[in-house]
Amino acid sequence: MIAYLGRRLIQSLLILLGVSLITFALLYLLPADPVRQIAGRSATPQTVENIRQQLGLDQPFVVQYWHYLTRLVSGDLGRSYIQRSEVTELIVSRLPASLLLMVGAILCELLIGLSMGLIAAVKRGTATDQTLMVASFVGVSAPQFVVGLLLLYVFAVRLSWFPIGGYGTWRHLVLPSLTMGILGAGWYARMMRSSMIDVLRQDYVRTARAKGLARGAIIFRHALPNAILPVIAMIGIDIGIFMGGIVVVESVFGWPGIGQLAWQAIQRVDIPIIMGVTLVSAFAIVLGNLLADIIAPFIDPRIKLR
């Protein structure tokens, strides 16, 4: 177990290093000159060169990357080119909002996805099953900005049940969580359905039925706990999908998380922020996968970590 963990940690670090190198290189190769962005139009060539020097952007790629890495080791992600604040401060101030949104989204997708999957499995082959599976397919394929705008229009603008964007109360959380959750719910519904169908075919379920247990008791007491475990273990892997989704969803709902920060930074070519958010996201994904793998054997003893 410990050897496995150690190996996985080293792998994770290598992945993060690779991500940082690739992102840094891509941003370096971008035809846009960040110094020009900072300096604006009225700057004289001398001002531009001064800024370039101050930021160390006149150095060769390898030197720049090395400087970045050495600072990174001490937890310093540099300063934003445009906002001039420390990237760490910007990310830390926005992380709670993104985490809250993630919790809300996980609740939504589990609640919606698992119920849909459960009902579909129990009603397997019926019209209900087919309708639910089509719905899950739509949920998976609908672009999040469309879902978000649709929910915003119906429930905030038309019905006024929820505020139109913003942050602060639980009511603000509902629509963005739902938008994020609908995508995941589609996946969970499908996984839950097949997992449940598998379980319902097992001998112990047949035995329970033969004993004359009520249908509800069989489904909720015997089948569900076993069917749900492998599905739950997927949450860690979900983090990757979340990290992609928050950029869109946070922008649509004006949610002050790191996705919104990333989106603004991309538009303004604010490289230190783009790097910072990418690394934090990559870290979250790596961590999520690691946790999913560690948890797996506890949920299903047939899996062994080696």
Binding site: A32, A39, S42, N50, S85, E89, L90, I164, Y167, P256
Partner: protein, 547 residues
């Protein structure tokens, strides 16, 4: 970096003001204004730094103006210069020495009195390369600037503290724009002790002499300004509090405005909703329209064939149907025929420009040796409505045989292509177009049409460099004498007329500004389309539902 500074009246603002010696601040207060109350303004993007030496986008520009003051300012809602922290000033006959007398009793938000030492410190700071100020170059005419910019000196030798309330500027050349330079944010006065205390984070903890002080800044969510009770200009500001809510899409902001939750959507009316708003009399009544010192244009790279031929460039000027392009943006602009916008001093009202004349354009192309036209590329920024405008121009060009393929790219990539001599044959400037830093005709020349901008990474995307005009521009800017202001304006008109003859640009339109406000907001309309304070003049507006 979008910058602005727009327009209104004031033809030769500079000229009128040069002779003026004393402040006229007291007469600018609206007698109907009510005191107190709070307003809410929304923005989509985070507010970048509030450090006056660094902030240079249209969002933080006017916020900084409310937190800090400079020696000069503009009368609210106009482009008329007035003295601000300076009580009076004198200009030497040779136009090379400016002496400012400071107001007594002006206090920073930390309670300390502002003196001439602070003025000098602020200018030394903004020109110091370590500050990384995008505006350092504006101070290039001050003696000793080159040494400071090169890192050889820490202090500008041309700025002298005569006594605590007198500061003297010596310039290396007569500079007709110098009073404007003393009004831009980069020259605003900061207290040394606070800058040193916060270091690089001063922009998050701004301390100035302005009408408002920063009360709260929750990153990514809101900024709150609170009335500065000790403001030197008695009677201002009218509002007790301004809350800027961040991260709100313009469309969401409009919906909230309609519900009465906010007072001004800082990013304006979303284009998709513009016609709907203007068609509703109740909403339209709350929209204020004004001019801007902005021109949208197509650049043609004068160093690339076939645009190295002036006849081809003139043909393009005649081929574009400007009225139709303006329709695409719902009529939010007026057609342009020269680089300067109509409300800028030096605008040539007599000049008629190139007519829209397809037949003549074709004839010119034939004369240039391209009777069947040619293939080329038109670069444009990829956000709406710019690709649609580029398509309209593409169709117009096709009508005279020019087959332009559209390169629709992110802003930074278009800017990069424009700054590369072999990068882009034609660029539609939309979304990146020039908006003047201050209301003076010289501001539309140097970086975008002069030789200084025709360098790799520069903003002169037509790579037009006319040494003769550069000399004439320098000559015009040395006319500091207020009595000769009209003459200076004519000198600039002549420069732009000559540019149009060479046609490195096809000017297309001058954008208008539309600011929407809640029904409770009061104050003259021009405060809501203030040429200097965008979106609105925070210090002078008020709300009607207090007291």
């Amino acid at each position: 970096m979008k910058r602005f500074l727009a327009t209104t009246v004031a033809a030769s603002a500079l000229a009128l003001m040069l002779g003026m010696a004393s402040a006229r601040a007291e007469d600018t207060i609206d007698p109907n204004a009510k005191q107190g109350g709070a307003i809410t303004i929304t923005y989509k993007d985070d507010v970048a730094t509030l450090d006056p030496a660094i902030g240079y986008d249209w969002q933080n520009w006017s916020m900084i103006k409310s937190l800090f003051d400079g020696l000069m300012d503009y009368e609210p809602g106009t482009t008329n210069l007035k003295s601000d922290l300076a009580e009076s000033y004198e200009i030497s006959p040779d136009g090379k020495t400016f002496t400012f007398k400071l107001r007594h009793g002006v206090k920073f938000h930390n309670g300390r009195e502002m003196t001439a030492d602070d003025v000098k410190y602020s200018l030394d700071r903004v020109t110091n390369p370590k500050t990384q100020s995008p505006g350092a170059g504006f101070f290039g005419s001050i003696k000793g600037y080159d040494d400071v910019a090169a890192g050889k000196a820490e202090s500008l030798s041309g700025v002298t503290v005569v006594d605590p309330y007198t500061v003297k500027f010596e310039l290396t050349r007569p500079d007709a724009t110098f009073l404007h330079v003393m009004a831009i944010n980069f020259s605003h006065v900061v207290p040394k002790e606070e800058v040193e205390k916060y270091g690089a984070d001063f922009g998050k903890h701004p301390v100035g002499t302005g009408a408002f002080k920063l009360a709260e800044w929750t990153l990514g969510q809101r900024i709150v300004f609170e009335r500065n009770a000790d403001y030197w200009h008695k009677g201002l500001p009218h509002l007790d509090k301004i809350t800027f809510e961040i991260g709100q899409e313009p469309i969401v902001a409009l919906l909230r405005l309609q519900k009465g939750e906010i007072d001004v959507p800082g990013d304006g009316i979303p284009p998709a909703k513009f016609q709907e708003v203007m068609a509703d009399p109740e909403q339209k009544a709350r929209v204020v329209e004004g001019g801007q010192l902005h021109t949208g244009y197509v650049t043609m790279n004068t160093t690339m064939a076939p645009f190295d031929n002036v006849k081809v460039r003139q043909a393009v000027n005649m081929a574009i149907n400007k009225a139709r392009v303006i329709q695409i943006i719902n009529g939010r602009a007026v057609p342009a025929n020269q680089p300067l916008p109509p409300s800028m001093p030096g605008y040539d009202k007599e000049y008629k420009g190139y007519p829209y004349d397809v037949a003549k354009a074709k004839a010119l192309l034939a004369e240039a040796g391209h009777p069947d036209g040619f293939d080329t590329q038109l670069f444009a920024m990829n956000t709406d409505p710019n690709p649609r405008i580029a398509q309209a121009i593409q169709q117009d060009l096709a009508a005279i045989g020019i087959k332009a393929s559209i390169q629709s790219l992110a802003q930074a990539n278009v800017i990069a292509a424009g700054g590369d001599k072999a990068g882009a044959p034609m660029i539609w400037s939309g979304g990146m177009a020039w908006i003047a830093d201050f209301p003076d005709p010289s501001n539309f020349y140097g970086p975008i049409l002069g030789c200084a901008g025709a360098v790799p990474g520069g903003w002169n995307w037509s790579w037009y460099c006319n040494k003769d005009l550069d000399a004439k521009a320098a000559e015009a800017d040395s006319v500091v004498d207020p009595a000769k202001a009209v003459e200076r304006g004519k000198m600039w008109s002549a420069i732009y007329d000559k540019i149009m003859e060479d046609a490195p640009w096809a000017p297309v339109f001058n954008e208008q500004r539309f600011t929407m406000k809640s029904a409770r907001m009061g104050g003259a309309d021009n405060l809501y389309v203030d040429p200097v304070h965008i979106p609105i003049n925070y210090d002078n507006v008020y709300v009607k539902d207090v007291q």
